[in-house]
Structures are given as C-alpha cells and as structure tokens.
C-alpha cells in the first residue's frame, strides 16, 4: 500500500515499504517554467527533514528541493541528468528526483494529503 504526501515547499513523497519516492509537484513545475537542469545527490547521503536535497534550474533561476523527511538517499533518477525537461512533462510520475529510506516515519504526520495540498495551493494564489 502506497500513500502520497505533500509539503508546503511543493514537494511530493510517495511512501511504500519504508521507501519514499520524492519529486516536485505539477503546480511547482508550472510555476518554475522550462526546467533545464536538475542536480541530484549521490546515493548514500543522509538527509534531515528540510535539508536542501536537490536543485532544479529553469531558464531563469535555480530553486532548491528540500527533503520532506529524514533518511538515506538510496537512488537518484538518472533519467533527469539526460533530460531535465521530463520534470515539465511528468512531474508527479516519471520525473521523480530521489528515493529515501525513511529513518523516522512519524515525520510524515506533518505533511499534507492531496486534498490538503490542493487547498494550500488555492490559499497561496
């Protein structure tokens, strides 16, 4: 059983069997515009919740992607190194950034569910 959570920094995390797959939301890619480069961490890196984990660059500017939860990076999406534009095409599926092995599943309780995130985006605009 997988469940997807969202952050106020517009990341999503899909958790299944203690592994969280992380990306940025479709709303975020829309705001950023054309993505031209994604910098990903090496597997093996330990991150704390809220740490800067990845960088995503549009034509105009660089933006940080924060770790929604703490844990060890176990995989980075190599497809993004070749084709950063995949983030614009498939932000919430194919263009995941990293997978993290959760060290503290309780942190998920601070995150939003899909409906909560939709409400949050609405309130921000």
């Amino acid at each position: 059983m997988s469940k997807t959570y969202y952050t106020k920094e517009h990341e999503w995390i899909m958790v299944e069997d203690g592994i969280g797959t992380i990306g940025i939301t479709d709303h975020a890619q829309e705001q950023l515009g054309d993505i031209v480069f994604v910098e990903l961490p090496e597997p093996g890196l330990d991150v704390e919740q809220g740490d800067e984990a990845c960088v995503v660059e549009s034509v105009k500017a660089a933006s940080e992607v924060y770790a929604p939860i703490s844990g060890e990076v176990v995989e980075a999406n190599e497809a993004l190194a070749e084709n950063a534009a995949l983030v614009n095409e498939s932000a919430e599926a194919d263009a995941w950034f990293i997978k993290i092995k959760l060290s503290n599943a309780d942190e998920l309780e601070e995150l939003m569910d899909k409906a909560g995130y939709a409400e949050f985006v609405e309130s921000e605009s």
């Binding site: 705001q31 515009g33 480069f37 910098e39 660059e57 034509v59 500017a61 660089a62 190194a81």
Partner: protein, 388 residues
Amino acid sequence: MSDQQGDTPLKRTPLYDVHTRLDAKMVPFAGYEMPVQYPLGVLKEHLHVRSSAGLFDVSHMGQAFLIPADGEFKTAAAALETLAPGNFAALKPGRQRYSQLLNDEGGVLDDLMVTRLGMQGHEHWIYVVVNAACKTRDFALIKKSMPDNVEMKILDDMALIALQGPKAVDVLAGFAPKVGDMAFMSSLDLPVSVEGSEMWMHVSRSGYTGEDGFELAIKSKDVEQFWQALQAHPDVEAIGLGARDSLRLEAGLCLYGHDIDETTTPVEANLTWSIGKRRRESGGFPGADKILAQLKEGPGKKLVGIRPGGRAPAREGTKIFSVDGDEIGIVTSGGYGPSVGGPVAMGYVRAEHSAAGTVLELEVRGKRLPANVQPLPFVTHNFYRKKK
C-alpha cells in the same frame, strides 16, 4: 518569487491590458509591471524568435528628443559627446549608434542608442533610448549637459515595441514596404496604415536579440492597435523579458546593471568598437584619461564569454577561478542558452585569463566545475546586410 521593490506603486506600459489578456506572468522590473513570459514559456519564446518573429513590449525604456533651436545637428551632437565616447558628430541623417554614458572614472552610467533623425526638416534632431532603471538620472544628466538652445523633450507619450527574428522584416513590410531594404542601424520615420487607422512610427533596424529585426516607437494611444495587428500575423508570438534576457546573452550583448555598470569601462566590457576613432585620439568624454590609457595598455580585466563544461548553469555572482586555484573573476550574466542547448555565461576575468580557449573553474554550490573562455557571441549574429 520576485522581490517587491518598496512601497512605490509599479508603473504600467500602454500595453499592460494586452499582456494580461494574453495571460502573461507579470513581474516587477525597473519600477514597471512587465511580462516575464507568456503561456508559451521562456524556452519556446526564445526559439521562436530565432526561427520566426517575436514581439516585445519595451515601452518601459526612456525615449527623448534633443532639439537644437539653431537648426544645427552638431550643436546637440557636440553636447552629447561630452557625456559619451561615441562619434555622434559623424552620424548621417537616419543613422543610429550604440554608446554609453560615462562617469569621470570611465565607468558606465548607462548604455543607450543615439539616432540622428532622417526625416526632412528634422535632420538636426537626436533621438535617444535609455534603460528604464536609469532613465530619470540619465535625462537629468543629459538635460544639464545641453546648452540652453537645445531642448530635451522626454517622450512620455510614446510606446516602444520590438519585432525581432528572421521573419520580422516580412511581417513589418506588410504594413510598411519601405522597411524591407533598411540598412542595419538605420531608421525611418513614416506613416503606417493599420486596419484603416493612420499612425506614425519611428522605426529602426536594430534590436537586442542578435537577430534581424526592428524597434518601433509609436504613440501610446496607437500602440495597442499596432501590436494586435502585428501579433495577428501567424509568424508572430509575444515574447517576455525572460526570453529577451536569454536571447541577448547568447548574442553576447551586455545588460546594464549586470555586465556593465559604474565599476566597468567600455574597454573592459569589450565595447571598444563603439568608441569612435576620432574620440580615441582626441578624448573629450568623461573618464577619457583612463579609457585612452586602457586602449593603449590593455585593461586589467575583460568581459568574456564562458561556456560551462557540464549542464549546470552558472548564474550571476558565480566566482571564477584559474586552473591553479586563484580567484580571477566573477560571472555577470549566466543561464541556459536554449539555442546553444546548454549553459552559457559572461563574466569578467583578469586579462591574462581572457584568451579564447582558456580553461577556467566555476564555483557552483561549493563545487568547482570546469569551463572554457569562448568568443562571443555564442550564436552567430543574423543582422541584415544589404546586398551589393
């Protein structure tokens, strides 16, 4: 995402309603609310200009006439030459030059376009276009430097739009056939008929993209109708400031406040070509001592094109190191070049590291990334050259 600037209300150009109807993303820029991109997006807008024709609103820029009461062009040209190193006195009617207003240290206060009008009876008039962020200071400086018999008329009632790209000439010739054979950096003043309405435009064959194209000054009251008519052409897309920036960066063109400012001279910025030959000998402009010395001995730092080796863009402010690890400069403009298909940048390096091909290192997020000095422009200029 963008910083709001104080409490001063943002100004709007006469095309503001057009941009919002086009669903542009509006951002504060130089005190104006300007379109940074339209729904097409920066990347596609950029590529569209390189392959077809793009329409830009640049009405935030400052426009003015300098009108000598004695009817002598040289009266206004000589006064302007006390502020800038261009050879304005040699301008023929209808011709345009790029130049810079300088401070006493030879630093750049602003860059500007200077045109001698070609219209009969107005050949003694000068038309200047300056950057939006600098226009108040520029106009105060110019006014102070003009003799009493030269009137400076700020054109607050004029909009400015640019039509750029290889198809720009065909699109504009549909309204004004005469533009077809205009020389690069020349101008015309002529009436145009847009859907039955007669209006007047000052058109120059110039721009800020590296492509062939035109800049059109039109009365604010008429500009919306002309914009709509141009945009209705199937080859034309509206283009925002985002693509304007990536286009000019690939074309190796300086952006004021970034690649040039009060701490850089035209010689350091590779703009020596814009300093008139006569002026290089006789001086007579602010900072001439320093600039003439730099021309003779070479400047200590130089603006160069930089091609990062990987895929990561190096943004403005990125520190530049030699392969020996010495800090030798800083990136002043950097991003992704959609036509190049990779990151591109410009920055100042110490002169001994400025030769094309020199290997550099860029410090991006704490990591040193390899890069090369590359001759500018990154994309070949596609300016119009008259057939012989």
